[in-house]
């Protein structure tokens, strides 16, 4: 059980750095969804299944879709960050 905790912590923090550093915004949004996914695993470990389900459905699913669609709408200007 402790290795699952360690793994999801490492994945979450690595994905958080990826959100900061990746130039391609669609990749950054994917990284944000990975953070949200790892966070919902942490919530399961913290005995909070309701919150894990909400974080997965809202954080990974909905926010990812909304953000990706907006970047698509912004065209080339929105895609790459100098």
């Amino acid at each position: 059980m402790i290795w699952l905790l360690g793994l999801s912590l490492v994945v979450m923090l690595a994905a958080a750095f990826a959100v900061l550093l990746l130039r391609d915004l669609l990749a950054a949004i994917a990284a944000a969804s990975v953070v949200s996914l790892a966070l919902s695993v942490l919530f399961v470990i913290l005995r909070a299944p309701d919150v894990a389900l909400a974080e997965a459905a809202v954080g990974t699913g909905l926010s990812g879709v909304l953000l990706a669609y907006t970047v698509h709408r912004l065209g080339a200007a929105g895609r790459y960050d100098p």
Binding site: D50, A54, G61, L62, L66
Partner: protein
């Protein structure tokens, strides 16, 4: 590393050190449970929901959920104000590829069933109005990705939003006749599908409203064309 980045880094290092020192003092693993303890003991008798988090969300802290519902409604109204200008003509976005269309059609019924299940069993198993509503919103949003010109019928989402919200609030106001605003009505035997009195009905209204709101929001974002 420009000057501004360095300044931000220093400020955050200080904030991190402050938080680390302060949080080290907080014990971990033995929460004082001044509010949680009594809830764990008395919620089966007072509210009767197997999922105690649901009894907290809808009964003990029902006002938070009502305000939460209103926040989503405000976000949808405000987004409508910002994006309302675009002409609804919608440029002729090419219908999505074959894979997305078939996947959208195939997934639609499963997402509906999953969303409805999570809403209706909110008082028994983890899940509830928010999570189920989000899944319903995605269920209605997928076919939109497949055929962008279809658009979501504004009238239906507004009507569902208004009536579900009003239903939630009327049940809350009905509580005034009982013990007070948002008072839970008892009913049914713990653990059964029809239990925890008014909670399942509240979660159903909440789920439909969240689903309609988010579907409306996403639909408006999608069909809003470059005016």
């Amino acid at each position: 590393m420009r000057g501004r980045d360095l300044a931000a880094l220093l400020f955050l290092a200080g904030l991190g050190a402050l938080l680390a020192s302060v949080m080290a003092e907080l014990g971990f693993g033995n929460p004082p449970l001044r509010a949680g303890g009594p809830i764990l003991e008395q919620s089966p008798s007072q509210v009767g929901a197997a999922n105690i988090v649901t009894s907290v969300v809808l009964a003990y802290r029902g006002m938070d959920t009502l305000v939460e519902l209103t926040i989503l409604f405000t976000a949808a109204t405000a987004a409508g104000m910002v994006l309302g200008q675009g002409t609804r003509a919608g440029r002729s976005q090419s219908p999505a590829g074959f894979i997305l269309s078939t996947a959208a059609d195939a997934l639609f019924p499963f997402l509906l069933v999953l969303g409805a299940y999570i809403i209706l069993h909110g008082h028994l198993t983890p899940g509830g109005g928010f999570q189920g509503g989000t899944i319903l919103a995605v269920a209605f949003f997928l076919p939109l990705l497949a055929q962008p010109n279809a658009g979501i019928d504004e009238r239906i989402t507004t009507w569902v939003e208004g009536s579900a919200g009003a239903a939630f609030l009327l049940i809350a106001l009905a509580g005034l006749a009982g013990d007070g605003f948002m008072a839970p009505f008892p009913g049914g035997e713990l653990g059964e599908l029809l239990s925890a009195g008014s909670l399942p009905v509240l979660y159903l209204a909440l789920g439909l409203k969240v689903g309609a709101e988010l579907a409306g929001l996403m639909g408006r974002l999608l069909t809003e064309d470059e005016a």
